[in-house]
Amino acid sequence: MTPVPITTVEGRAIALQGHDIDTDRIIPARFLKIISFSGLGNHVFADDRAAAGGRHPFDYPEYQGARILVVNRNFGCGSSREHAPQALRRWGIAAVIGESFAEIFASNCLALGMPCLRGETRVVEGIQQLVQEQPDVHFRLTLAASTLHGLDRHWPLMIESGPQTMLLSGCWDATSLLLSHENELRQTALHLPYLHDFAPPG
């Protein structure tokens, strides 16, 4: 597979306010008893949405099809379940902007090619306010410059250079990266005696 660089994410945004939103809220544990991630998009924030009786950003018609999620502090904390970014992704989210992220959540997002960018509190709250007032604004997130553009305005964001390089070069996808070392993989296997010299299991 050829690497797929991620340079920009474009589209409408959706704001979700609150600190310490954990992965149990993003996708409740009962939805882990499944065989495919594909249906997870329907269940994102299932309990929060049920509790809100439909008055939840993920249920409002104006945010359907949004691509950029804007959150606050320590988003994605709690269990390391990969189902959380998967659920957001399957709902349609392609990038997340927040004040801060739980480490494992951010690295799980990276593995899906879904950038997580941080912004200062003022910046993030400003974007959230705009999204709430004008849900139809078209945004453009530029990875190389770490900025968000929309309505002739722009907001400075931050991302660590490691993930930034991986996304821009298309090396965020561990599988492709690992498969690109075909020769090295074969060489390593060749030198492991239990693969050849001792009767392999079977």
Binding site: M1, K33, C171, L179, P193, D197
Partner: protein, 478 residues
């Protein structure tokens, strides 16, 4: 940086490449899969049109979702049936060995791989389950992985990883009667804390570990993850080789000799350098029980629940939460606490030696009135061996239920679960809130012999008081 340890040697042998993000690509020698964390990984493979690179190095079983009473198909729970069917289809599509119900070899993934002789010294072993550390008992580097990583291993037989630091934990001396590997594990976690292992591989060493049978070493390594260590291991020695000899998937004939020579060469060198070293005295370890909501909140069975001022300030908030949740008062003895459910099983303590230890306590006695007590062998082979020795009869005559193999009440993905505020005495590995299926259910972790003692007396009991009449031996035929 450690040098000359088994971890360093195995890491070097399996290194494929250095990756741009600073990680190392590591070859995985054995990939174990089960029904819960593999279906999404297979779906992701399918989405990309990829296959399984080394089907002969990938082995499957079904354990988490299986009922332990009626295992007839279709399974009563349609979601469980769907997960098992998906595993069967994925294994058939990709030509993978699946140890299903009719194989005679089905069981908990961390029980069957060792008993089949699949887990061997010097291997890298990965599985989408955190207790993969168990296989480190064989001198393997074995660790749990997430679903995307399961996909990576299926596709490339390798992973992107950061190298860990190595901490040697030496346990010297011998264990008193009634004290088991589980107690050693809980004692270590209590001493070092549940986060101490983060970023570390734990090498278990010392005369106490050298004297342990393989099954005891597996219990110890199984719990390494509860100390925060991604993997734990014991250097391979004659005890390990004797266990592997003649197992179905172990090398044979001349290959066996070559294998043993190679395995010996991988043990940590006498002058190996460790990032950290800790040592403990086995004689100090008593039968140990958890009182709280993490495996580190543990105490000797003859102590009182610690008061906040006995704990480091950083641990006090969690202790307060634990007192409330567990409904235990600081300063109260744990012995004598009434128990509702007793569970013997899991990948920590569901092996034949564990059942023998528990049966010694149960033999000729009867569980307390109203007690729900059940024994779940870790695998079909364990069940068969136990039945051949008559252990099933010992348990059923004592009022325990004798079940079919699976993860059972270790976690809440099958019909075995706590109800409401029930308190369990459990030989499993996690006492987290809600872990055993009821959001308010409570768990006390302990050794299988201690669980049997609690079942008989109806309350948490120091198993040592019950061993004078039941002759206690630590070495079974295995």
């Amino acid at each position: 940086m450690s040098t000359g340890t088994l971890y360093d040697k195995v890491w070097a042998l399996h290194r494929v490449a250095e990756l741009p993000g600073g990680q190392t690509q590591l070859f995985i020698g054995l990939h174990l899969i089960h029904e819960v964390t593999s279906p999404q990984a297979f779906a992701m493979l399918g989405e990309r049109g990829l296959g399984v690179r080394h089907p002969e190095r990938t082995v499957a079983t079904v354990d988490h979702i299986v009922p332990t009473t009626d295992q007839g198909r279709p399974l009563a729970d349609p979601l469980a049936e769907a997960m098992l069917s998906a595993l069967e289809k994925n294994c058939a599509d990709h030509g993978l060995r699946l140890h299903g119900f009719d194989s005679g070899q089905q069981g908990i993934v961390h029980v069957i791989a060792p008993e089949l002789g699949l887990s061997q010294p010097g291997m890298t072993i990965a599985c989408g389950d955190s207790h993969t550390s168990t296989h480190g008992a064989f001198g393997a580097i074995a660790f749990g992985i997430g679903t995307s990583q399961v996909r990576d291993v299926l596709a490339s037989q390798s992973l992107a990883l950061d190298k860990l630091n190595v901490r040697r934990i030496s346990i010297h001396g011998s264990l008193a009667p009634g004290v088991f590997a589980k107690d050693v594990a809980l004692h270590i976690i209590r001493r070092l804390g549940v986060k101490s292992g983060v970023g570390h591989a734990y090498e278990f060493a010392g005369s106490c570990v050298a004297a342990m049978a393989m099954e005891e070493r597996m219990t110890l390594c199984n719990m390494a993850i509860e100390a925060g260590a991604r993997c734990g291991y014991v250097n391979p020695d004659q005890v390990c080789f004797n266990y592997l000899h003649n197992r179905p998937c172990a090398p044979r004939g001349a290959a066996w000799q070559r294998a043993v020579a190679w395995w010996r060469s991988l043990a940590s060198d006498g002058d190996a350098v460790y990032d950290d070293e800790v040592s403990m005295d086995a004689g100090e370890i008593a039968p140990t029980v958890t009182w709280g909501i993490t495996p580190g909140q543990a105490m000797a069975v003859d102590e009182v629940v610690p008061t906040p001022d006995q704990l480091p300030p950083g641990e006090r908030p969690l202790a307060q939460e634990a007192y409330r949740y567990m409904d235990l008062r600081p300063g109260q003895p744990i012995a004598g606490t009434p128990v509702d459910v007793c569970f013997i099983g899991s990948c920590t303590n569901g092996r034949i030696s564990d059942l023998r230890d528990a049966a010694l306590v149960a033999r000729g006695r009867h569980v307390a009135d109203g007690m729900k007590a059940f024994v779940v062998p870790g695998s079909q082979q364990v069940a068969q061996a136990a039945e051949a020795e008559g252990l099933d009869a010992v348990f059923t005559q004592a009022g325990f239920e004798w079940r079919r193999p699976g993860c059972s009440m270790c976690l809440a993905m099958n019909p075995d679960r706590l109800e409401g505020r029930q308190l369990s005495a459990s030989s499993s590995n996690r006492n987290f809130k809600g872990r055993q299926g009821s959001a308010s259910g409570r768990t006390l972790l302990m050794s299988p012999a201690m669980v049997a003692a609690a079942a008989i007396s109806g309350v948490v009991t120091d198993v040592r008081t019950m061993l004078s009449t039941a002759k206690h031996t630590r070495t079974g035929p295995d």
